[in-house]
């Protein structure tokens, strides 16, 4: 994969990432979530589907570390199993966003002028479509499922990636080494895969990290509204809406899934911020890790779900 290679060839990018407190936090959180999702495939303290009416609404303690819900299911197990859904949605949305983003950015940067300009206008228009609106369009027709989340975030964020990557792609396009490549007889496709994409990869991966954070938020919001995961699926959003019905009587239980979502989103956001610093050679070192990046479009309308 050329994208990964381009970063690894930069000496010590991971060490630079690790040196940032935000980077460490992001890496650890993302690793923990991924590991939890993996472990939950083989083992959870209880079965996430196993109900036990006698033990409903158990308070946090032993053996139910985070307590149980209205049907006596173990909340910790549900959250662990929900991590799987979160990972699937984040990765799925990331892949869709990558494909759409690269395609639109390439069309907007490398083609004939009129196509280029029309794509740019189209991207400007599409960017105004909130992810939630896209999700509603899809789910009005195909009904609610995790695909709705993956596609709506993928499209919404793909457009965003295209908008950020396009100028970067054009900048690299006019650089000397691309010209040299062309002079050496590379076709434009070879030039794209060998020189252009690896050079915009850092910008891209940073965007992807933020996009995945948005996917996690969107999964929660859309599943809550009934457009996302089906109620039978273990998902943080579904769990949140399940527990919300009893919020006046059992307020504590609703804290856990929300905490899981917040932590994951925070981890991915900070990872994106830190990756940006670690991979961008032009950023000065008098940096401020908590300061949101200025040049990048960070806030995608309509994904604060």
């Amino acid at each position: 994969m050329s994208a990964a290679k381009s970063i690894t060839t930069r000496p010590g990018w991971f060490r630079r990432l690790w040196a940032l407190s935000t980077g460490r936090f992001g890496v650890i959180v993302v690793a923990v979530i991924a590991l939890t999702a993996l472990v939950s495939l083989f083992w959870t303290p209880f079965s996430p589907r196993q109900t036990d009416i006698a033990d409903r609404w158990a308070l946090p303690g032993w053996p139910h570390l985070l307590g149980t819900d209205a049907t006596g299911r173990d909340i910790l197990s549900l959250i662990m199993a929900g991590a799987r859904t979160t990972v699937v949605v984040a990765v799925g949305a990331g892949i869709v966003a990558t494909i759409i983003g690269v395609a639109l950015a390439a069309l907007g940067a490398l083609t004939a002028r009129w196509i280029r300009e029309s794509v740019a206008v189209l991207v400007d228009i599409l960017i105004a479509f909130p992810v939630l609106i896209i999700a509603m369009m899809i789910s009005a027709v195909w009904g609610g499922s995790l695909w709705v989340v993956i596609w709506s975030v993928g499209i919404g964020f793909g457009v965003n990636i295209a908008r950020v990557t396009r100028p970067e792609l054009r900048r690299v396009l006019h650089s000397d080494f691309v010209l040299a490549g062309r002079a050496a007889g590379l076709t434009s496709w070879q030039n794209l895969t060998r020189h252009l994409l690896p050079n915009v990869a850092p910008v891209f991966i940073v965007q992807l990290s933020w996009g995945m954070a948005i996917a996690v938020l969107a999964e929660a919001g859309l599943s809550y509204l009934g457009f996302g995961a089906p109620v039978t699926e273990p998902s943080w959003g579904v769990l949140l809406s399940d527990l919300q019905r009893y919020i006046t009587v059992h307020p504590l239980s609703v804290v856990w899934p929300g905490l899981a979502i917040t932590l994951t989103v925070l981890g991915l956001n900070l990872l994106g911020d830190a990756l940006r610093e670690a991979t961008d050679p032009t950023l000065s070192h008098g940096r401020d890790p908590l300061n949101p990046p200025r040049a990048a479009i960070r806030h995608v309308p309509g994904v604060r779900a």
Partner: protein
């Protein structure tokens, strides 16, 4: 300026057309029979046929589209498949909840993010600045639904100050009650959106502090704070205007989720129900109204930005 406004207006119109085509096609290009899908599996052939007639499904796609758009241009947003009532009338009625909710949310977001954002930038590297930054970064990662639930737990369940759910049946004829039931939802949207805005204000302020004109002002004898307030903040203000469009989009989305959580009879809740019921003619008009609103706000924001930013005015005259 006029030239810019006209170009931007053209872009807005193209945007509205593209949006309407996308919404229309997504809701029409379906595997299988749309009428069958809407009617469900238990429908009689007569019911399906009547839906087909109602939607004009047997005419070509582009006539259907023209008819829809023609209606919208005349102010007719169509009728609901389920209830037969006018979509425009329903939106207008539900707007009496959603619009005040949106305005209140925006005011709350601005009221807390601007001062705190500036403070967070000025106190950068010190305890107060770090706390504010970490807080905003964390708040920006909180799902709106969850923030709403936590606020309900604290202010409705424990303290009992504000209602946890609902909107008075009498609506705005009981302004006190209506406002009270909108307060918690608006605070929820306001703080989560405000956290995003706070980070933006902070970075705009930091940028302004580093500008030459602020240093010059300080050099000619103003204190750092005077220089910032007099020369820096107007520029921060201009930057805030540029992201207002995004904020409005965020608030609309927040309202959809929050109306559901708080059981408010607004546009968002209606839309969620209509999507669930597959009331496609209604959904299509509602989505266009919302998207159109976002596009129009973006247009207005760009124009205002152009007018208030002296640098852009100057660029024009050169």
């Amino acid at each position: 300026m006029i030239r810019y406004a006209l170009t931007r207006l053209a872009l807005l119109i193209v945007g509205l057309v593209v949006a309407s085509v996308l919404i229309f096609l997504t809701l029409r290009v379906l595997p299988g029979d749309l009428a069958q899908l809407i009617a469900g599996t238990n429908a009689t052939p007569e019911q399906i046929q009547s839906i087909r007639d109602e939607l004009g499904l047997e005419t070509p796609l582009w006539t259907q589209y023209i008819e829809w758009i023609g209606g919208i241009l005349r102010g007719d947003l169509g009728t609901s498949l389920l209830t037969g009532s006018s979509v425009a009338a329903e939106i207008a009625q539900k707007a009496s909840v959603t619009v005040p909710l949106g305005i209140l949310s925006l005011l709350i977001a601005l009221a807390f993010s601007i001062p705190l954002g500036v403070v967070s930038a000025m106190r950068r590297g010190r305890a107060a600045g770090t706390v504010l930054s970490v807080g905003a970064q964390t708040l920006a990662a909180v799902p709106v639904v969850w923030a709403g639930m936590l606020l309900v737990i604290v202010f409705a369940v424990w303290l009992g100050w504000l209602p946890a759910q609902g909107f008075p049946r009498a609506g705005w004829r009981e302004p006190g009650l209506a406002l009270r039931s909108l307060l918690l939802p608006a605070i929820t949207i306001g703080i989560v959106e405000g956290a995003v805005l706070l980070r933006f204000v902070r970075s705009a302020t930091l940028q302004a502090v580093g500008q030459d004109y602020v240093r010059t002002a300080a050099a000619k004898g103003l204190t750092r704070n005077q220089a910032l307030v007099r020369h820096g903040l107007p520029n921060v203000g201009i930057s805030i205007v540029t992201v207002l469009g995004l904020q409005v989009a965020g608030i609309i989305v927040g309202a959809v989720v929050i109306e559901q959580l708080f059981g408010l009879p607004g546009i968002g809740r209606m839309l969620v129900q209509d999507v669930g019921n597959r009331d496609l003619p209604k959904v299509q008009s509602e989505l266009l109204v919302l998207t159109g609103f976002v596009l129009i706000v973006g247009f207005a924001v760009d124009l205002v930005h152009r007018i208030i930013d002296p640098r852009l005015r100057q660029a024009e005259s050169e």
